[in-house]
Symmetry: C2
Subunit: 119 residues, 2 copies
């Protein structure tokens, strides 16, 4: 689903010194799946194409989530926070899950004694 | 609630060049409330005291969330992601809400035509 952000909304996003902004992907059921980074270009691509497209800091390239793995993330809604420096996307996770390990969420490791407990 | 993280778990957290790691606060009902930053010291304080204690990048000081506003965040569980470079906390939000605007969540602005819609 394409999201028609207004120029005012897009101008409200604040990118860091590297031109990046954190982007949180949350499943429709509330599970936080992952956090990665977007630049202005991949944010526009994400809103236009209705799927999560990040900027890979390690590879320094556009990261079309799921192009290799099949684990695409379909965007249902997109939010920006009060400071405009964090993004939140509600998504439908396709494929195995969000994580490269095959887990549904990247946050499957818990601090404390019951360290193996899933979220 | 204090969380007894093991040394191995704490060693698995990767801080950026500024010594910081993103910390997402999520309400028990699934609402993503905010994202801010922690350093090694405020992460330890958060786990020890069972309340969210961030590092304020703008003020360059320890930010004991709610000390001024009363809007404290009580920690129920803490997770770190597959790369160890993002933290996720399940919290009980006290006071008015997480946002300095008085909103429950900092993500109350939505991209698109229905821009005023809450999460």
């Amino acid at each position: 689903m394409s999201i028609a952000a207004t120029p005012e909304q897009l101008a409200g996003v604040r990118f860091d010194d590297d031109g990046l902004v954190p982007a949180i992907a949350q499943d429709l059921d509330g599970t936080v799946l992952m956090m990665a980074w977007m630049n202005a270009e991949t944010l526009r691509m994400t809103l236009d194409e209705g799927r999560m497209i990040y900027w890979s800091r390690s590879r320094q390239e556009v990261w079309r989530k799921g192009d290799t793995s099949g684990d695409t993330q379909e965007v249902r809604a997109a939010y920006y926070d009060c400071d405009g420096d964090v993004l939140l996307f509600t998504v439908v996770q396709h494929g195995r899950g969000a994580c490269h390990t095959g887990d549904r969420t990247c946050f499957s490791r818990r601090f404390g004694d019951d360290a193996a407990a899933a979220q």
